[in-house]
């Protein structure tokens, strides 16, 4: 087979592109995923609310409703196979007055139509199951199937598992042009030229621009930024459920939720922005604080680790866009996947891969292994088993990140896996080293040294995230700068 020919090329290494790659690897098929960043899960998939929505909210009979409900049902099993932490913590959508009560009761009807379990609960029970709530929280829609998952851990796990099963990944490669030539698509990147029978456009924020390279886009992405505040894991019982606010004419308010590492996330805001604008600003952060205080009064802002922002791929249509181009069959758009995109991701991956299977008449990959090798950690193994691991590989005893208890052994493993970490942020996303309150003050340097040693590159070329972000870009005394 021609070197640069692929049955399928997926553009975009976010949670949707990587999920499609993973589910495609169930078949005998030659697939390349192209991602312009230095790692997968770098844009929307690295900065969002990290919620696996139950599916009561989307309007019935929409793609959102279908994929959300299905994805939610799949998530537990998927996370077990991929060894990604997933917690079904349940969500509470909080009402503060009679009007909210009406809205919540309507949403419960909608939940029924979507096939989602949702229960209306009154103040007494509400405060019993979530004692931190503000006294003014009167009612709630309780959706027990709502959960939480780390969006970047899930994305990376999808990609690693896809690669374990034969899918190829090209990073730091940008698609410049797409043409149709007979049955094939010709894709030019800044590094190479490819041919493919099927192209999946999972380019998130840039999916309209990618489509534009081939044909007049049928949709437009109007990016909307969400800013967040992240708190430390100071108390595992502070807030157990994902707390949403009852939607009103003004908007959806903000949420407070634990994460799978028992940090707490507060946000998001929802403002028009540029696609690449992930900056935060103080008026928005103040808005988050003020709004969140309606849910929980005394939020311990002394526990703040950082603020951050992510940009959603908000389309100019009301639903997910998951369809083949009518002008250029074989070009499949998976676009406008904003919330509940994370929850929907396994279902979208399965659906799109099945579509391609029919289209290309693919055979089953009999060697497909849905299980990703476990990531060993102190918390997942427990003290005794972890001790046995140290006796086998002493690097697991050498703790590098003292806030999150991450060992050298874990970092080395994360580098050498498929879709391995190659940057400080790559380690952070996979293992949480540097994710703690000191924000890497104590471990970042050691992490860089391990990356340099394991990848056999000079220390001053180790990146923080993308190209151009060398951590040690200046001078070491007595050493020639190798850059």
């Amino acid at each position: 087979m021609e070197k640069n020919y692929f049955d399928v090329i997926i553009i975009g290494g976010g949670v949707i592109g990587c999920s499609i790659a993973r589910y495609l690897s169930r078949f005998k098929v030659n697939v390349l995923l192209i991602e312009k960043h230095f790692d997968v899960a770098e844009e929307t998939s690295s900065a969002n609310s990290a919620i696996v929505h139950s599916g009561y909210d989307p309007l019935p009979n929409t793609k959102k409703a279908y994929f959300n409900v299905k994805g939610n049902k799949m998530m537990e099993e998927v996370c077990k196979e991929l060894h990604v932490p997933f917690i079904k913590n349940g969500s509470l959508t909080i009402g503060f007055n009679d009007e909210d009560k009406k809205t919540l009761l309507n949403l419960i009807q909608r939940a029924k139509l979507n096939g989602v379990e949702a229960e209306f609960i009154e103040k007494e029970e509400l405060h019993k199951i979530e004692p931190s709530l503000n006294d003014e929280c009167l009612y709630a829609l309780y959706a027990k199937d709502s959960g939480i998952v780390s969006p970047f851990e899930l994305t990376i796990a999808f990609m690693e598992n896809a690669m374990d099963n034969g899918i190829k990944l090209h990073l730091s490669e940008k698609v410049l042009d797409i043409k149709k030539d007979g049955d094939l698509f010709l894709i030019d990147t800044d590094k190479d030229k490819y041919k493919a029978k099927v192209v999946v456009n999972a380019a998130g924020l840039y999916s309209d621009e990618i489509l534009k390279k081939l044909e007049e886009p049928s949709f437009k992405i109007n990016p909307r930024k969400g800013e967040y505040i992240l708190l430390d894991h100071f108390n595992n019982n502070w807030c157990k459920h994902t707390l949403f606010m009852c939607p009103t004419k003004v908007g959806k308010g903000v949420l407070i939720s634990p994460t799978t590492s028992f940090n707490y996330i507060i946000g998001p805001s929802n403002d028009e922005s540029l696609k690449e604008d992930t900056s935060t600003d103080s008026s928005t952060i103040n808005y988050l604080k003020e709004t969140a205080s309606k849910l929980i009064k005394d939020i311990p802002y002394a526990e703040v680790i950082r603020t951050f922002a992510g940009v959603r791929a908000n389309p100019d249509v009301d639903d997910f866009i998951i369809e083949e181009s009518k002008i250029n069959p074989g070009f499949i758009n998976c676009a406008g996947i904003m919330s509940p995109g994370l929850a929907s991701s396994p279902a979208i991956g399965e659906y799109v891969s099945n579509l391609i299977k029919e289209k290309l008449n693919l055979e089953i990959n009999t060697t497909y292994n849905p299980t990703r090798r476990e990531i060993y950690s102190l918390s997942s193994l427990g003290i005794e088993k972890y001790n046995e691991l140290i006796k086998k590989d002493s690097r697991y005893g050498h703790m590098i990140c003292r806030c999150e208890k991450v060992s050298e052994g874990q970092i080395v493993d994360a580098i050498h896996r498929n879709c391995g970490a190659r940057s400080v942020k790559g380690i952070k996303k996979r293992l949480r080293a540097g994710f703690g309150k000191c924000q890497g003050s104590f471990c970042e340097e050691e992490v860089c040294k391990i990356i340099a040693r394991e990848l056999n590159i000079p220390l001053n070329s180790v990146l923080y995230k993308d190209e151009g972000s060398e951590v040690f870009k200046y001078r070491f005394k007595g050493k020639k700068n190798e850059n």
């Binding site: 505040i229 103080s282 950082r306 603020t307 140290i390 703790m399 003050s441 104590f442 972000s469 005394k477």
Partner: protein, 422 residues
Amino acid sequence: MKINNKTYDIVIIGGGSAGLSAAKKAYEEGISSILIVERNNELGGILNQCIHNGFGLHKFKKELTGPEYAYEYIEFIKENNIDYFLNTLVLSINSKDKLIVCSSSEEGIINISYKCLIFSAGCNERTSGQIMIPGERPNGVFTAGLAQKLLNIDGYLVGKNVYILGSGDIGLIMARRMTLEGANVIGVSEIMPYSNGLNRNIVQCLNDYNIPLRLHNTVIKIHGKNQLEGITICDVDDSLKPIEGREKFIKCDTLLLSIGLYPFNAMLKNSGAKVNTETKGAWVDQNLETTLDSVFSCGNVLHVHDLVDYVSDEGEIAGENAAKLIKYGRKTLLKTIFTKHNSNLGYLLPNEIKVYKDLNEVSFSFRVKKPISKGEILFKDGENIIKRSVKNDLIPSEMVKIKLNNLDFNNLNELSVEVNEI
């Protein structure tokens, strides 16, 4: 594979200035079964990266560098064969069973039982995330202490055009240090109307090098996607809010943060010790014992100090009292007095006084909340003044230490400390 078990009379978590002096003092008190657990690859803690002088004026009556100061203690530890583990991280404290769980490459997981535990794990620097500086999150924003470590231990200069936020001592020291290494230090912003560093550091590290200090000014935005490209600074009003129209863009490749330290007390807190909400360190009595039985806390993990000499003093108090508890057991408790302070104090230690027979001396430390040019310091039992002293130029960056002695604490009903401007 079995988990290793070890037993010591005194286990010390952290081999920096507090832990080293605690070990020395406990040894001098006759305890020889002592273990220091240190996560780094050498003893000495942060002193190793403090290559400037000015240490030891109180303790040794001479001016030492950080490593020289540490050496005085490390030699003692080595000469007397006091045990220490390096590259070993404590994972948890189990105060009920009086043991700690550690991890290291050589030993794997180790359970270490203690009679007394001294917690001296030091402090952390506050980060840009914690104070929520708006803008981007590029590479090039460092805490001053990390920049100091990179420069003085690894020989790496973090940047060429440097701005410093916060006038804490490490920031001031680094302003001079980076200038000497050839970096261009553009200026220092301090949000408060006064500096948070020692006066001598303002003079010797900024004024001597013509580095401007902007008071009532802060960084309101960080610019740059991958690498820092610049910052926006702005004057603030009396409520510390940025004043519109007073913004200024500063081009720089590095922002150093010297915006405060806080005790790295999470582990002790997680094991159930009561926390002093003002210091964020442990709640302690006059012997520096926490609310956990036989667990002591001292140094910067208890409250952040400005002079290492005082850290050593505090280590000695913890070391001596741990040793005495082991040698003589616990004395009969007559009563407990909780200490209080007025609103001019940021905090007061100890939080409580355990009154035993013959207790007649207690050391107090506190900081004022705002500068007081002439202050009257009162120790009171109700309305009854026990001790009065007057001090000039009280500032938040300088800790005040006062001893109450020749006093029968059993006669006291309560104890409060007031500072009043006169």
